[in-house]
Symmetry: none
Subunit: 407 residues, 2 copies
């Protein structure tokens, strides 16, 4: 038996409630040698007081040295093996907007973009067109009829949309059309290396190129959104849900579609919420009786880190700290606070650095950590250093949802 098999065997359904509070990209780095990280610079009295009553540690998102995308990082937090199957952006985006994907549908992310008369991409985001314009263009694209497949085009927001292809004999193993930088011509979609002879990949590539050509024709009068770029083709394969695996009734509270998507992939119910972390926490409190597991996702920290804005990331952390008492007022049996990965403002990108982790429960063994920060979690964290794949076993155990294994 594997660790996973054992967990499935010993897990029991109880009313105890677990909150997994993910502050996206919360781990950071000093901007100059000897300086504080974003967490260390932030004034976080509530997080620090909680750390003193909790057990802390440092979590590796996937494995040491690996910088994760948001998909694998969240899957690992939810207890799935992120190396087994990488889930493409298309599937995450489609699930994220609540599209009812069928098994074997192929989904892909669309960027509305600007192309010039020479066929060169001049803006990969079409000047970040307003969402209303995006919706209008998606309605136009939805009128397209493609041979042999059913097409669904759905708006996400700004320049982002998603296309879903439904039909017999399709494969998601095809390349992106998005060249990833402006000043280049778009690529043709083609089967990935090794799949050149696979008729399903050939059919998908043919269909996608057809779609791009037809879209260009339809959008020609809609500059700057006169073209589409496709990336992250993936075929949807349902995974065993967290309800099946852990006997949990799971709810996700996330503002951004991407995180709703990965939560849907894990079988969570998506709770409608507002635009701020305050809205999210109020949603949590309002639905607290209805579920036994809550995934709460805070985006602002990661966005500030990606922009290289140290101060804005500090502010976003402080905003989380201010709302923490409302989370605690719900009295979850287990509250775990961490990030899905680090996004140091210094790097302006996701990074591989381990992430501070805090677990509060009546049955945690407290440690001497006095703050929720990288240095305290490293030096005084009782959990030591551990991979994200151990988060679900830890929170389930502390909620007393795991029976004894063996006589």
């Amino acid at each position: 038996m594997t660790y996973d098999d054992v967990l499935s065997e010993i897990v029991v359904k109880t009313p105890a409630r677990i909150v997994l509070f993910v502050i996206d990209g919360v781990g950071g780095l000093p901007m100059e040698t000897g300086g504080p990280t974003e967490l260390e610079a932030a004034d976080t009295p509530h997080l620090d007081a909680l750390a003193q009553r909790s057990i802390c540690g440092m979590m590796d998102p996937l494995a040491p040295g690996i910088t994760p995308g948001s998909g694998p990082a969240h899957l690992a937090l939810f207890g799935y093996d992120p190396f087994r199957k990488s889930v493409g952006r298309g599937v995450l985006a489609a699930l994220g907007i609540g599209f009812d994907l069928h098994p074997s549908d192929v989904a892909v992310r669309i960027n509305f973009a600007t192309i010039n008369e020479k066929g060169v991409i001049t803006d990969r985001r079409a000047g970040r067109i307003p969402t209303a314009k995006n919706e209008q263009l998606c309605t136009l694209l939805q009128l397209l009829v493609l041979p042999e497949v059913e097409l669904f085009v759905r708006s996400v927001r700004e320049h982002r949309a998603v296309a879903i292809f439904r039909g017999e004999g399709l494969s998601g193993r095809v390349t992106d059309s998005d060249p990833q930088q402006s000043g280049l011509a778009p690529h043709d979609v083609a089967p990935v290396v090794g799949e050149e002879q696979n008729p399903a990949a050939q059919k998908m590539a043919r269909t996608a190129n057809n779609f791009v050509r037809e879209a260009r024709r339809i959008l020609s009068d809609h500059a700057p959104a006169n073209f589409i770029l496709l990336r992250g083709f993936d075929q949807y394969t349902p995974m065993p849900s967290m309800r099946e695996r852990y006997k949990l009734d799971c709810a996700a509270i996330a503002v951004y579609p991407m995180y709703r998507g990965v939560a849907r992939l894990a079988g969570m119910e998506i709770l409608p919420t507002g635009e701020t972390v305050v809205d999210e926490v109020r949603t949590l409190v309002r639905h607290f009786e209805t579920f036994t597991f809550f995934f709460v996702h805070v985006k602002k920290t990661d966005a500030a880190g990606e922009d290289g804005d140290f101060k804005r990331k500090v502010n976003a952390i402080e905003e989380v700290d201010r709302i923490l008492p409302e989370v605690l007022s719900a009295e979850p049996d287990v509250l775990a606070i961490t990030g899905d990965h680090s996004t140091p403002a210094l790097l302006k990108a996701h990074s591989w650095h381990p992430v501070p982790f805090l677990l509060h429960s009546r049955y945690c063994r407290p440690d001497p950590a006095k703050r929720f920060s990288e240095s305290e979690c490293v030096r005084r964290g009782g959990l030591g250093r551990f991979p994200a794949s151990q988060v679900m076993p830890l929170v389930l155990a502390h909620a007393l949802k795991l029976k004894k294994y063996g006589a």
Copy 2:
């Protein structure tokens, strides 16, 4: 090659002596927030002095979050993969009393119990009958003749006994008759789910139900011990011994049959001893020249934890501390002190929490840990956090029994 393969290849036989001293369930929790754990509350001058000359750490019994039974927890300490095969209570009990199990024997734990005229269990332990009465009843049951199998019935102690079934085509994959609470009728023994069509499981179920029926007839005049309950059917499969794997001559010193059983499973010789930890340590000293590996098991700490008796667990820890100088007087080359798991009085049960670990040897790299306690082993333990499966490699290495690997 796996880690295990490498160990087998590089291990050498030397006279160096290793003592693995297991204080069952020694890890604990504070009874109230901010309070001490059992180890922290105990006055342990000898353990603390030893910790200052040793390397310490925190050991995960099986894997983070998993609460182990005693069987898997000890197998992991002895270097066996506890997830590969879970060993049933029947086999552990039979080995524990020194019964010479043959490969493919099926063994099961017996509880003498009280059943009323309506066929309802009124006491699952028959008022904890004296061991002498138990022995008399086992002699009666041994007279039973069952078709197609040879039956052995052996007394353990109080209400506990064990039955061994020997014969062609038996399987241990059958359910318990013990309903696990009084006020219910006993269950019929049946093949486990998925084994319904397995003739060996069918034969075992038929045999067991026959045995229960005949036992009830024979015991009808022996109330309160007028019935038997069966649990933990398992078929004995020998494992490679610690002598084969590690070139060690192993001895076990344990008061309780269960722990003798798991030690026998690993191929250890069981040394007769008395009832107390003082008796056990004297047994160790007396046989110190004859073996190169000693497993010493202390039960009282776990029993006190299971009863939720914080003070009694503290006392049991202090009792171990007082006898520690006698252990040291034998001058083992490596002395490792730990538990098989935590049993916090707060939880009145085994738990998943990591266990303090101490290793003393001429060749350990000391760390700044000043006490043998959870907080010191976490904060200042040089071994960090590691799984029990690494204990054997660590003690073998520190005994200089592992050659260099590779050129």
